[in-house]
Symmetry: C2
Subunit: 455 residues, 2 copies
């Protein structure tokens, strides 16, 4: 359901005709996410002309659905006074993200104008490192005292609702702000009005520490099907919550980074088509150049076998085939293992089990490809053979393909596990890295086998 192309022409007409009634209707009736999407087709001034028909609270809501770059663009043009009011009204996590992106000069002018409590909240969120639970959490969570009755608690929730990111989970703190329980609004609604919150709350609250990686928060939330997961400091005090919508963003972001690592790119945070050419060049060329330099060793490996090369020209014609076999089987194994590790299907102690599995797979995949290679090599035209034994050549190709396939599979499955053990992201032991390594070693395997049989 994309309304964008339908509404935009009408909207432009309303804007040029200053049709206040129509603009007010659009600015107030549409879902803020949809409104945010529509404004992406408008100029900065047009966007403000439209948003000015909504109140501050709604403007702040629309803002939190806009891409960060767009938020910065929109906010940079307006007065600092107005910007400070908007920021006070935004969700706590979204506004911290926005302030993180504004230039230091703007922030310096802006923060003194923001109400003290909000200012301190922003400053605090900015201290947490990027990609930590602290950096993605929001501080506008709802709390309840343990000794309140359910009836009073519902009244309290009603009171807190307008300023809370979610009221579907309510957290119970002791006098030291330590997290001692949680209750869902669902359980609150169905409980007897006279019961105490302490009677119906869950005492075992699953939480993540503030310095945990955002992935960890995402994994826990997904595992328990939570709407939000609490974040606690080292003393167990509640400091924030990470909500399901932020986790969804984290999951999508991680998948993108994983794909980009597999494609040998230094991960881009955002829309790469919108970035400056020089940035994209830098991020893409770093890995391509590293791979290229590593691949230079294929030259050295081949030069080492130069004599063999000269003797039977047919041998050299099969080089790309043999090494690509290693690259393909290696990157296949690497991707499967990396993904299984990301999903938690393979733990750090499973390497023996993985090796056994991949050894069997490598052997049967190698036999499959070796058989095809045998048939093709046996059909080598006599002109290319130049006197070499057809069946011997076929045997060499079949064996080389089979062994290189097995080798690629083993390297591809071991490397991600070794990388993790060494503390690197296993995603870096990905397709192109494995493929390049197997290319070079594959040449050595190939010519060694050829030497045994043919030379």
């Amino acid at each position: 359901m994309t309304v964008n192309p339908l509404i935009l022409p009408d909207l432009r007409e309303m804007l040029s005709e200053r049709d206040d009634a129509g603009l007010a209707q659009i600015a107030n009736d549409l879902h803020p996410a949809m409104l945010a999407e529509i404004t992406e087709g408008l100029e900065v001034e047009e966007t403000w002309q439209l948003l000015d028909h909504a109140d501050l609270h709604r403007q702040a809501e629309v803002f939190s659905y806009l891409p960060l770059e767009r938020q910065v663009e929109l906010v940079s043009g307006i007065g600092r006074e107005r910007m400070s009011k908007l920021i006070e009204a935004m969700p706590h996590d979204s506004r911290a993200e926005l302030v993180r992106r504004l230039s230091p000069e703007i922030v310096e002018e802006l923060l003194p104008l923001v109400a003290k409590a909000d200012r301190e909240d922003i400053k605090k969120l900015l201290t947490y490192p990027e990609h930590s639970a602290g950096a993605v959490m929001t501080t506008d969570y709802a709390t309840l005292p343990a000794n309140m009755t359910v009836a009073d608690a519902i009244a309290e929730v009603r009171h807190q609702a307008p300023n809370r990111e979610t009221i579907y989970y309510l957290y119970v703190l002791d006098s030291d702000r330590k997290l001692i329980g949680s209750v869902s609004l669902r359980n609150l609604i169905v409980a007897k009005p006279a019961s105490l919150v302490s009677d119906i709350m869950d005492h075992e609250v699953i939480s993540v520490p503030i310095d945990a990686d955002q992935d960890e928060a995402a994994r826990q939330l997904a595992k328990y099907d939570f709407l939000a997961i609490p974040v606690v400091d080292h003393e167990g005090r509640l400091v924030g919550i990470v909500t399901h919508d932020d986790v969804m963003d984290v999951v999508v972001e991680e998948a993108t980074e994983e794909a980009q690592r597999m494609a040998s790119v230094v991960p881009f945070g955002e829309d790469y088509m919108a970035l400056p050419i020089i940035t994209v060049w830098r991020k893409r060329s770093v890995w391509l150049a590293c791979l290229f330099i590593a691949e230079l060793f294929t030259f050295s490996a081949l030069a080492h076998f130069e004599d063999e090369f000269g003797k039977i020209i047919a041998l050299s014609l099969f080089v790309p085939l043999c090494i690509s076999t290693g690259g393909n089987s290696g990157s296949q194994a690497a991707t499967l293992i990396t993904r299984a590790m990301a999903l938690g299907q393979i733990g750090p102690h499973d390497w023996l089990r993985v090796m056994r599995h991949e050894l069997i797979m490598g052997v049967i995949l190698g036999l499959t490809l070796g058989a095809i290679g045998f048939l093709r090599a046996a059909a080598t035209p006599a002109s290319v053979l130049a006197g070499a034994d057809r069946w011997m050549l076929a045997l060499v190709i079949a064996q080389a393909v089979a062994i290189i396939c097995l080798w690629g599979t083993l390297v591809g499955s071991l490397l991600p596990m070794i990388f993790r053990r060494l503390g690197f992201d296993p995603g870096y032991a990905s397709s192109p890295f494995v493929a390049t390594f197997v290319d070079v070693t594959g040449i050595v395997i190939y010519f060694t086998i050829a030497k045994i049989y043919l030379l």
Copy 2:
């Protein structure tokens, strides 16, 4: 927070000692997701010994957190009568998934024992094709009549709560079951008790059609930060809802499939280490064999240039370097474009913009790699050169690398867009596919350039 390794030994002791009090505590106090995780370390009989200490409702909850294969394993051993009670208590979407996996004989014996309403619900959900919104939705959503007061509506929600997947969104239907509005529990709680549901509900409900792809439901839910999104039939009647936790599963599943396609594997639905070797072999060997057969053309391309090959041996030593350049730059571009399409950053009409961007990137990346190639080729040892001109060779390598890099980048960025236009999943135009295509064409480019300068 993983309790598993800590609890398991204690649990085994309790099971062997038949410590009913301890088992009852574990079975009733832990979060069902955690309980589900723990039982994965137990035998089938042990699991039932533990679960028997919880009531049917809780058993059903634990079940919905277990992997499907495990559910099938657990359920196959128990009597049909008992299985039918468990299935009646399970969430509607989880049980439909489970029944989908049971063998037809079990289903045939089982379904007549299930209560009629539940049986019909299961049968209906099974009719929707896999990966459609209909197949992932649940039918236990909560509804409200439009003309009810808020106070009565809250009482009604309290009444419906025990049998609903979520009560945080309430859907308003007309007499024809058409979806005419929705209200969040949050808004219901803060509204004046005497207002009518029709006064506070959202009239513009964002929904997805029943035959939409599950991705579409996931995208819409993520875009609007919803907890659930309603699914409607072709007459606009509400038939189910897709909830945030199912969407999370869909997003993770899609990311896995995308990674697997990039690694040239026919996607596995589940934990691939747990599948039979023969299945894994089939899924892995299909693509590897296809790529291998395609890669056979490198032999033909090289054989075509056999004469050139024989003349200057140094030329052939650079073949793997040149073609891997094309493969790496091609798969990099393909991944970036595929991912940007998946995130909606590139639409079907953007191909001209993409081409322009990738043309520039291809040129500057090519120049970067070409410069490195020039330096390396200029340092070729005299023994390998065998009389060929060192600087001419360096010029050939630099030009070949630059042009193949540009070619790889263009092919890698165009193929996913062409695939989408032809109605295929752009993910298939992925790294290995592009790399193999560029390998073969790269050989032709390389020797054509070599012929111009050296021969």
